[in-house]
């Protein structure tokens, strides 16, 4: 089976699930990595080192900024000319559009956020979450090529073997399609890059993070401002712990709706299902959407003052207590024990 693996990158930063997709492709047969953009030498080298048998590079100034239309047309043209059986993408904002459009061009379908692949005879069967992960479905695609996106950390990342670049595989250069319908006029980076999908450790806060009675907000704040201010002090403790463990900061919907942190941090609900090795839930009671979004984590720790909170039903370890005391104490204890 021949698989195209679309290597998704933003200004040269590759989404790690692209490498995980190479691993999946290799398990089926031949992995052909596709790299679009400009200045692609580093990414091409990495693709070979992660195991790609072939890399197709489309280096064209028309593809400098990701834009859905020319990227989709370029992909569709490549797929038409070399007929892969499967095209894999890491799930990102870009690939959802790109795969979607290319599927229209090629009259095929896209299986999104696939958690597991299996073969049923010649047919590829994909297991994916629906209804925010409350239910799983097995789906098949009768079109060719089958297209599928995989979330971060759902499949093992292949080992990167330095020095295998280009010696092992074939490098092909292909032409771009330049049918751009949009213009990118500017870009501003996030204040704090949030990449929950690839985080090995996530420390999350919920509504409880704003409930520290011992804090006195600065004078002149109204009730809502004081609540947000309190929550931000609480999230500072969570951020300290996340930083020590090299992890990301997550949040429940209540914390996002309360304006404590931005939407990018939200676990659950948006279909943002995370599966870190360690998930620490602080002041999160455990609404169903949140639990669905994090229950595949390897080890879950819950810290909440309410012993009946549903979050404890998903946790491996639980602490009934005041997160404003427990979290900083845990940060200190781990700092000592890790010798940091």
């Amino acid at each position: 089976m021949k698989t195209f693996v679309y290597i998704d990158h933003f200004k040269g930063e590759v989404q790690p699930a692209s490498w995980e997709a190479i691993g999946v492709a290799k398990s089926f047969g031949t992995a052909v990595a596709l790299v679009f953009g400009t200045d692609l030498d580093e990414i091409t080298k990495a693709a070979f080192e992660y195991g790609a048998d072939e890399v197709i590079v489309v280096d064209d100034s028309a593809l400098t900024d990701y834009r859905a239309e020319p990227y989709a047309s370029t992909l569709s043209a490549l797929a038409s000319s070399s007929s892969p059986d499967l095209i894999l993408f890491p799930t990102t904002a870009r690939t959802r559009e790109l795969a979607a459009m290319s599927a229209v061009d090629l009259n095929t379908g896209v299986l999104t956020d696939v958690a597991k692949f299996e073969m049923n005879g010649e047919q590829l069967v994909a297991t994916r979450p629906i209804y925010e992960g409350k239910v799983l479905e097995k789906t098949v695609c009768s079109g060719k090529p089958v297209m599928a996106t995989i979330p971060g950390r759902a499949f093992p990342k292949p080992e990167r073997v330095a020095g295998t670049a280009s010696a092992a595989g074939t490098l092909t250069k292909a032409a771009a399609k330049t049918d751009a319908l949009t213009t990118v006029q500017g870009y501003s980076a996030s204040e704090s890059a949030v990449n929950l999908g690839d985080a090995g450790v996530i420390v999350s806060g919920g509504r409880g993070v704003s409930n520290n009675p011992s804090l006195t907000p600065p004078a002149g704040m109204d009730e809502k401002q004081a609540e947000v201010w309190r929550a931000q002090q609480g999230f500072a403790l969570i951020t300290d712990l996340a930083a020590l463990l090299g992890g990301a900061v997550g949040a429940s919907r209540a914390a996002v709706d309360g304006g404590y942190v931005t939407y990018a941090h939200q676990v659950g609900q948006t279909g943002k299902v995370v599966a870190p090795d360690l998930y620490i839930a602080c002041g999160i009671s455990g609404a169903i959407q949140h639990l669905v979004g994090m229950r595949n984590s390897k080890v879950i720790v819950a810290i909440n003052k309410d012993a009946d909170a549903p979050v404890f039903k998903q946790a491996r370890y639980g602490v009934v207590g005041d997160l404003f005391q427990i979290v900083p104490a845990l940060t200190e204890a781990l700092r000592k024990k890790l010798g940091k």
Binding site: A93, T270, R316, L334
Partner: protein
């Protein structure tokens, strides 16, 4: 003759100033619903069916543009008769009119199929300056339909718009992605997907609810929108409940926060996940 040209010119001018916006919505089980797989079907007990929460941002974005520049907002939905309620919600928020595409032949519709039917309905409505979507639906959750509709229509796709600014014949959006915010521009007509940064969707007003209850919602069949039922390319072969993962939780207790933290740190380190 002269008069006619003048009239025509006037009409063209009015059309240029006033935006024609279509917001596409879907009806889904409420987010709080206990959704389960039962006998090969998805069930949600007696939980209500509501407008897909992400689509409320599309309706909100459409209404903001209508307020700023004048025009009309039409809500469009594919679904069974019961989906009228979702359309009524959008009407009560302030949309001008609504269309339901409903057909017995639409039992199995994948996202490419939905995009083809929606594009046909957009053409039947007489086109638009902008077609707005939510980023994804709560049920299928794939988030593919907006870009696929754009591709079928041959219009530019501006995804994940947190801010929308229409100026003359073009639209500029602030696109909210994992890496930050991008400013992207395209000529109209265009398809947009709208995200939460657009602002909280307004609640239906009392007047709006009264108006919605009086508005007639036309129901179009596939024949009405001049298309046949698209054959599904993606189909479901099995439905499962996720494995129940209720674990035996080990509660960590102690005399002081320091002691609890110390014990918990040892437990975490013993898991070898750091």
């Amino acid at each position: 003759m002269t008069l006619c040209v003048l009239r025509c010119n006037k009409r063209i001018q009015i059309k240029e100033l006033a935006l024609k916006i279509i917001a596409c919505i879907k009806q889904v089980p409420d987010s709080e619903a206990k959704v389960k797989a039962e006998d090969g079907k998805v069930t949600w007990g007696d939980a209500p069916l509501v407008i897909n929460p992400f689509d409320e941002y599309a309706v909100e974005g459409a209404l903001q543009q209508e307020e700023a520049l004048g025009g009309t907002v039409t809500v469009l939905c594919i679904g069974p008769e019961s989906a009228r309620d979702a359309l009524k919600h959008a009407l009560a928020m302030g949309a001008d009119d609504a269309v339901l595409v409903s057909d017995a032949a639409l039992t199995e519709l994948d996202t490419v199929g939905a995009a083809r039917v929606l594009a046909a309905a957009v053409n039947k409505i007489g086109g638009a300056d902008m077609v707005l979507f939510g980023r994804q639906t709560l049920d299928n959750g794939s988030g593919l339909t907006p870009a696929q509709t754009a591709r079928v229509l041959g219009w530019p796709m501006l995804g994940l718009a947190g801010q929308i600014k229409v100026d003359g014949g073009s639209v500029t959006v602030e696109r909210v992605i994992e890496e930050g915010r991008q400013t992207v521009n395209a000529k109209l007509p265009a398809v947009l997907s709208v995200v939460q940064s657009i602002g909280e969707p307004r609640y239906p007003s009392f007047m709006g609810i009264r108006k919605a209850s009086k508005t007639t919602i036309p129901v179009w069949s596939l024949a009405d929108v001049n298309t046949a039922a698209p054959a599904p390319i993606v189909s479901r072969v099995e439905l499962m409940n996720p494995p129940t993962q209720e674990k035996e939780v080990e509660m960590i207790t102690g005399e002081s926060p320091g002691e609890i933290a110390d014990k918990l740190a040892d437990k975490i380190l013993a898991e070898k996940v750091l």
